[in-house]
């Protein structure tokens, strides 16, 4: 797949903006923040040396920033995330790379029990970021395709973001690094090199907690995030050809949710389809749908619909994974049915 900007409207071109890939935007944000703030450092498996991480996001970083700031860790997610807790308590701003988002479950206690509660309990701020390369569609099987955001959205004390574009990949990562709280940053592997977009060159911060209306519409709203934004935009384009005007809201931030933007679009169109790659059952979409059902009840012209992954481990084989996972085609079909309600 060569990188294109698919159905996205290009972000407004600012001075110095360039069209770069989603993964390049992540690297750029990291490098800029490390240059700006000596307290920012990186740790994780294989992030250092010439290698620069399983996806090469930190390639060249050790040469520029030294080993002290680009720390290769042993295979011990629980431990090294705990190390990030301690560093963050002392005012450093560690950015932890999980090799795959799937392995974040190995670090679970350090995140949900320690980092999430330290400030509430004794005022210990834990300003780290965990970068978690998530999502599938690239035939990597049950353990290299997961989307575990719902576990963390349900956990008090954390923040969770999920960029869908190169610009947001940069702006949300910078915001996450500067945030004084533990932020889990879900970066979508399927977008890494297949999605390009304009990205402002300088300091660029996308505030955590603000959704982005990426396409305005009248007939229904598709609320989504991460790699499914691209799919939703493709579906919206097809729907438009059928005379159905779909609005697409990119949540960007999953905790906190932008309840205002969610309710605004729901009240505007009266019909909502919530989409994500993670399995649907008790996923983040359930919270979004429940919120709308409670707070936009009188504006609804149809049942709030959800489209997520199936309630199975994520299968490897192409036909199975395709059956498992939402995509533009399935969004299109679900939206069409909803529009006809």
């Amino acid at each position: 797949m060569s990188a294109t900007n698919f159905g996205f409207t290009d972000a407004p071109v600012e001075d110095g903006s360039r069209t770069i890939t989603y993964i390049a935007a992540i690297s750029e944000a990291l490098r800029q923040e490390m240059r700006r703030d000596p307290d920012v450092l990186i740790l994780g498996e294989d992030v250092g040396g010439e290698f620069g991480g399983a996806f090469k996001v930190t390639k060249g970083f050790e040469a520029e920033f030294g080993r002290n700031r680009v720390m290769n860790t042993p295979l011990a997610e629980l431990g090294f995330t705990g190390v990030a807790n301690g560093m963050a308590l002392m005012g450093l701003r560690p950015v932890v790379e999980m090799q795959f988002a799937d392995f974040i479950s190995s670090a679970f206690d350090s995140i949900v029990q320690f980092a999430a509660t330290a400030h509430y309990r004794f005022g210990g701020a834990v300003p780290w970021v965990i970068r978690a390369p998530c999502d599938g569609g690239i035939r990597s099987g049950p353990f290299h395709s997961q989307n575990p955001e719902a576990w963390f959205v349900h956990t008090p004390g954390l923040k969770v973001v999920a960029p869908a574009t190169p610009a947001d990949a940069k702006g949300l990562l910078i915001a996450a690094i500067r945030d004084h709280n533990p932020v889990i940053y879900f970066e979508s592997k399927p977008l890494y090199r297949s999605l390009k977009g304009y990205v402002p060159a300088g300091e660029y911060v996308v505030p955590i907690g603000k959704a982005n209306l990426v396409r305005a519409g009248e007939d229904l709203s598709i609320i989504t995030y991460g790699a499914q934004v691209r799919e939703a935009l493709q579906a919206a384009a097809r729907l438009a050809a059928q005379g159905i005007s779909a609005e697409v809201l990119d949540l960007r931030s999953l905790k906190p949710l932008d309840t205002e933007a969610i309710l605004a679009t729901a009240r505007k169109t009266g019909k909502v389809l919530v989409v994500h790659s993670a399995n649907q059952l008790a996923g983040v979409g359930a919270e979004v749908a429940a919120l709308i059902a409670a707070e936009a009840f009188e504006w609804l012209d149809g049942p709030v619909q959800r489209l997520g992954g199936l309630d199975t481990p994520i299968p490897f084989s192409p036909p199975l994974e395709d059956a498992y996972r939402p995509n533009a085609e399935k969004i299109y079909a679900a939206a069409q049915a909803l529009a006809a309600f």
Binding site: L41, N68, R69, T73, P74, A76, L78, G79, F80, T81, G82, V83, A84, N85, G86, M87, A88, L89, M90, G91, L92, P94, D109, S110, Q113, F114, T117, A118, H119, Y120, R121, F122, G123, G124, A125, V126, P127, P156, G157, K159, H180, N181
Partner: protein, 324 residues
Amino acid sequence: MAEVTLATHQRLELYYWMLLTRVFDERMLALWKQGRGVGGTFSQRGHEAIAVGAGYALGPDDVVAPMHRDLGCYLLRGLTPRRIFANLLGRATGVTAGRDANLHGLGDLSLGIVGFVSHLPQSLPTALGMAMSFVYRHEPRVALAFTGDGASSSGLFHETLNMAAVWNAPLVLLVENNQYAYSTPLHEQMKVFDIAPRAEIYGIPGIAVDGNDVEAVYAVTHEAVARARAGGGPTLIEAKTMRMLGHAIHDGAEYVPPELLAAWAQRDPIDRYRAHLLSEGAADQAELDEIAHRCEVEVEDAIAFAESSPWPDPAAVQQGVYAE
């Protein structure tokens, strides 16, 4: 073992902190038995010399991650009996302002203390991270972490020691081997009952010490802290003692053989130290009585303070989840 060179006033401080711990613990348990407590709480008896001796070996800029038997360490690092007792009773004036229970969450970063988290032994990698922040910033500071024999079975014990060794971190990890993890005796937890020798596989020093001898604990910790501060890397210390009461307030510890307790009672860290101070002429009985009196007064004051302190405002329940 290193030579101990403690001035008389320091020895009396050690005695004071241990006794303050003991008096606090006894009054706390009594209060709970009267039904004046809130929730549960952990007994401290048997651990006074470890918490105090090790904590006393730190410098003011060092940091510590105590566990649930380290009341003595919290106290000597500067958490007042008032703040701690108020925490036990869930009051607004407690260290966590009613948010965390008993000895959990007793953190105050201005005093270099990390709040304890229940999930054992989460404090270990946290302390390692603090230690690594000192390396990162080229600060001559050290982190001390406490853990138990029980928690030494957990994977985090290994992960922390391994990373600390690879990174040559200024970390001192002290295991309070008190023969039991709740009701589970050592032989159901590990096959080799000595924990200090585990240090070898990590290529770092491992030292066992009599956990009922406060000066010995102080000495080995002091040496380990000095080594860490000088760039010599981490040390594993095993302090052997016995948990003399139940695991927590509700636990009668009927599973502990009485003979075992009787034997260890002979080695009570405070009685021993009192006798030692007297025999060495470091203090006379009047001085020790004065210290005891001071401890009583402080603890009574703390209880009165705690019991008369306001409850937290329920309207504030959602405040402080996030740092601004």
